[in-house]
């Protein structure tokens, strides 16, 4: 019998020993990175075109930023928030007509050919400017790229272009691809778009549709001792609920881009051997926006838009839909942006009574059934949170007598309905803030944009004063004057509400404790992972 008795002291000693044993690896954690190993990562989508120079989107970067590098990467502590990659330095001319890049020496493409300024010139003129979704705007005035020697590239602009904008565009828009691979034939049809060739720390090894992407170590990488990992495997797990289970079962070691649902984070943070990391996405802020179709007569009335803004409880959205992993928005620039954000804009506190008064004033009285008018509401299908916010917004509008009917579409049909057919009254959209309002934010409210351009002003909003401000800011070279103009821009947007910014959120990574050097720059998930390592 005595064998089976458990004394309190014995139990305590035993559990203390257990605790100590778990602390052991933690003590030795801050040591030098280990070489070798295979990192297995969850991938929730399978982009077919993996050329980041053409498709500058986070889904593509997640995989191909390890293969194809940009001129510079975002940084927490570097000058202007940047750290060098393929370019070592960048200098803008005072007249805004040229930018000079000094390139890194001794860099080789994955096929062994040397990387030179000709590759940069080719990428800029043949791909970024004419073909890239974001580059079309930023590099629209790029006229030529001079290459006085193999390690210098001078960008020449036809019209003055703010150096601040070019700088802010470096991390996302400047993926350099090899000229010798792309110069023959049509660039869009090049097979290297599906199996990219770059200068990055990892080479593209193979892709099995529906199963995985595999990247292998580039032994000739320019970074000293880098990369540390031998392989990165992207395991395709389209079902969001399976990523958490796969992490717990040690089938994968990292799930980025909130592949683990927010509601599961609380539980998973208590699981031994897993860590929840909220850092590493500061440069990838998504905005939760109510897009408004100004062609609808009721919505063209500012009072109605103000009423809708007052009807939304941003606090509820942040706490309940995003479970605290978001921030309430005040305007079109997110709070976490260090350069442009201003809190000094008109705000719309949650106030249902005021919203009702505004609608009464606007002349939309409640009918006998309590409804003022009906709307079609199209929540974007890309994120769980956008769909849930759609459900919430329907309730918030019901409280002020607006009857919203939700229309669910798949991603392609949603794009067509909102951006081509304009078959919506309100839509919920998740535009991305990319470090500079001129890259992808002003286009959301600018007048005169052709049909079918995704993530643009498709609500038909026109405001000559705002358009003039956007035009002026786009050619203002002085950084502080330009920043001031964008602060003015935020005020005007918040005052006239061409769209309603509700919240700003970013992503969460969940990783096993053995994965080191994660989240060490503001775009970590889409950076090159050269210094990421695995403890065995």
């Amino acid at each position: 019998m005595s064998v089976l008795t458990i004394s309190r002291r014995g139990l305590l000693a035993g559990s203390a020993l257990l605790l100590a044993s778990t602390a052991l690896p933690a003590i030795g954690r801050a040591q030098t990175p280990k070489k070798g190993g295979r990192l297995i990562v969850a991938a929730d989508s399978e982009p077919r075109n993996l050329n980041p120079a053409i498709v500058a989107s986070n889904g593509v970067f997640f995989i191909s930023s390890k293969v194809v590098e940009t001129l510079a990467e975002a940084s927490f502590d570097g000058k202007d928030g940047l750290q060098p990659r393929l370019a070592l330095s960048w200098q803008g001319a005072a007249d805004g007509l040229s930018v000079t890049f000094k390139l890194r020496d001794g860099v080789k493409w994955h096929d062994g050919k040397p990387f030179t300024s000709a590759d940069v010139a080719f990428s800029a003129l043949e791909i970024w400017k004419p073909l890239q979704n974001l580059g079309r705007t930023v590099f629209k005035d790029l006229e030529a790229v001079d290459t006085p020697d193999e390690l210098t590239a001078v960008f020449k602009f036809a019209r003055p272009t703010p150096f601040q904008l070019i700088r802010n565009a470096l991390p996302a828009l400047t993926s350099v691809v090899p000229k010798h691979v792309y110069e023959n034939g049509k660039i869009e049809d090049n097979p290297a778009n599906n199996a990219p060739v770059g200068t990055g720390p990892f080479k593209f090894a193979e892709y099995k549709a529906g199963q995985y992407y595999r990247l292998a170590r580039n032994d000739d990488y320019w970074g000293k001792d880098e990369p540390f990992l031998d392989e990165i495997v992207y395991q395709v797990l389209p079902d969001r609920t399976s990523a958490a289970a796969a992490l717990e079962a040690e089938e994968i070691q990292l799930a980025a881009f909130s592949a683990v649902p927010l509601a599961d984070l609380d539980r998973i943070s208590k699981v031994q051997g897993l860590k929840v990391v909220t850092k590493g996405y500061e440069g990838l802020t998504y905005q939760l926006v109510v897009e408004i179709n100004h062609r609808r007569k009721e919505l063209a009335d500012l009072k109605v838009r103000q009423a809708i803004a007052h009807a939304i409880d941003k606090d509820f959205v942040v706490k309940t839909i995003f479970l605290g992993y978001a921030a309430a928005a005040t305007g079109p620039v997110p709070k976490n942006d260090p350069q442009f954000y201003t809190p000094d804009v008109p705000t719309y506190p949650f106030d249902v009574a005021k919203a009702n008064d505004l609608l009464d004033e606007a002349g939309y009285k409640r009918a006998d059934d309590g409804k003022r008018f009906s709307l079609k509401l199209l929540p974007a299908p890309y994120f769980n949170e956008t769909k849930q916010f759609g459900d919430y917004l329907r309730q918030a509008l019901a409280a002020i007598g607006i009857d919203a009917e939700i229309v669910n579409n798949d991603p392609a049909a949603h794009m067509k309905a909102v951006y081509t057919d304009h078959a919506f009254d309100l839509a919920v959209g998740p535009p991305v803030f990319r470090g500079d309002p001129a890259i992808s934010t002003t286009i959301l409210v600018q007048g005169g944009i052709p049909d079918g351009v995704p993530f643009s002003n498709q609500g038909g909003y026109k405001n000559a004063e705002l358009d003039a401000l956007i035009a002026k800011a786009s050619e203002t070279l002085d950084t502080s004057a330009r920043t001031a103009l964008y602060k003015e821009f935020q005020k005007m947007v918040a005052a006239d509400l061409p769209l309603i910014n509700v919240a700003e959120w970013s992503f969460i990574s969940v990783a096993r404790d053995t994965v080191g050097n994660i989240a060490n720059n503001p775009r970590w998930a889409v950076s090159n992972w050269a210094d990421t390592y695995l403890e065995s």
Partner: protein, 276 residues
């Protein structure tokens, strides 16, 4: 009365009738017990069941009352199930009668069309139809009907084939009735009982198909559906499993109730036939 007594002779039938009765009562009482929008936010989010007696089944991720959603979901499930079954039986009976009674080319054409529908899995057909036309209650009913009308059509045709050779049909012909009149006034009513026996199977299948469509996000987003509730809960299955379990149980019970009640009806009619 005797039929009713026969029906209640088996325990399965009693259980089925009870469940079905409860379900119908839930559906009818929903707007009285839970007036207003069942999707309105009623309390704190993710409240577990049996904590707060004003919200006995707790709340979902947005703080909506689960019990209200469950009751209103019963309305959607039953409405879709009954409407789809009624439409399928109507179409099936008409097509089957026409094919069986007319014979020849019309029979061939109608039956090959039904073959074509039968070769495509009915759920796939519904999925494709809804994703093309866009989700709303009417479309969901039509989509489900598309996949199930062939069953009643085949049964009706088989019955009609035997009935049309009977003497009273020949009699009707002799007195000069129009063939269509004979088909629908003399033949169809007599061919109907075996077709109606299919109804419970069809209602049950329709409820399940509707739930599956809603689960995949192809249900009417402006109505509460049990499938939609299960899908909502799936994202938080590990932390709040009740969100999926509660509507899941409701779904199981509904399908079981319809099935058992249908079995009971078939059983009681079978007894009548064997003991005239």
């Amino acid at each position: 009365m005797r039929r009713l007594r026969r029906f209640f002779r088996t325990p399965e039938a009693i259980a089925g009738a009870l469940i079905l009765g409860l379900l119908v009562a839930m559906a009818l009482a929903a707007p009285l017990l839970f007036p207003g929008d069942p999707q309105a936010i009623a309390g704190p989010a993710l409240l577990p069941p049996f904590q707060d007696w004003s919200l006995p089944l707790g709340t979902d991720r947005l703080g909506r009352d689960m019990l209200a959603e469950l009751f209103h979901g019963a309305r959607t499930s039953l409405a879709v199930g009954l409407a789809a079954a009624a439409a399928a039986l109507l179409i099936g009976a008409v097509v089957g009668t026409l094919a069986g009674f007319a014979g020849g080319l019309i029979d061939e054409v109608l039956m090959r069309i039904s073959d074509a529908f039968q070769t495509v899995p009915s759920f796939l057909l519904a999925l494709a139809f809804v994703s093309i036309v866009g989700p709303s209650l009417g479309v969901v009913v039509a989509a489900i009907t598309l996949g199930v009308w062939t069953g009643p059509a085949r049964v009706a045709r088989a019955e009609v084939l035997s009935i049309r050779e009977r003497d009273y049909v020949a009699g009707a012909r002799v007195i000069g009735m129009h063939p269509l009149e004979i088909a629908f006034r003399e033949v169809l009513p007599n061919a109907l009982p075996p077709v109606l026996a299919l109804s419970s199977v069809i209602v049950a299948a329709a409820i399940l198909t509707e739930a599956a469509l809603s689960f995949l996000g192809l249900g009417d987003p402006n109505r509460v559906t049990w499938g939609g509730m299960i899908a909502e809960g799936r994202a938080v299955l590990r932390t709040a499993p009740y969100l999926s379990i509660v509507p899941g149980i409701a779904l199981v019970l509904a399908v079981l109730g319809v099935y058992l009640a249908g079995e009971g009806v078939v059983e009681s009619t079978a007894v009548r036939r064997s003991l005239p």
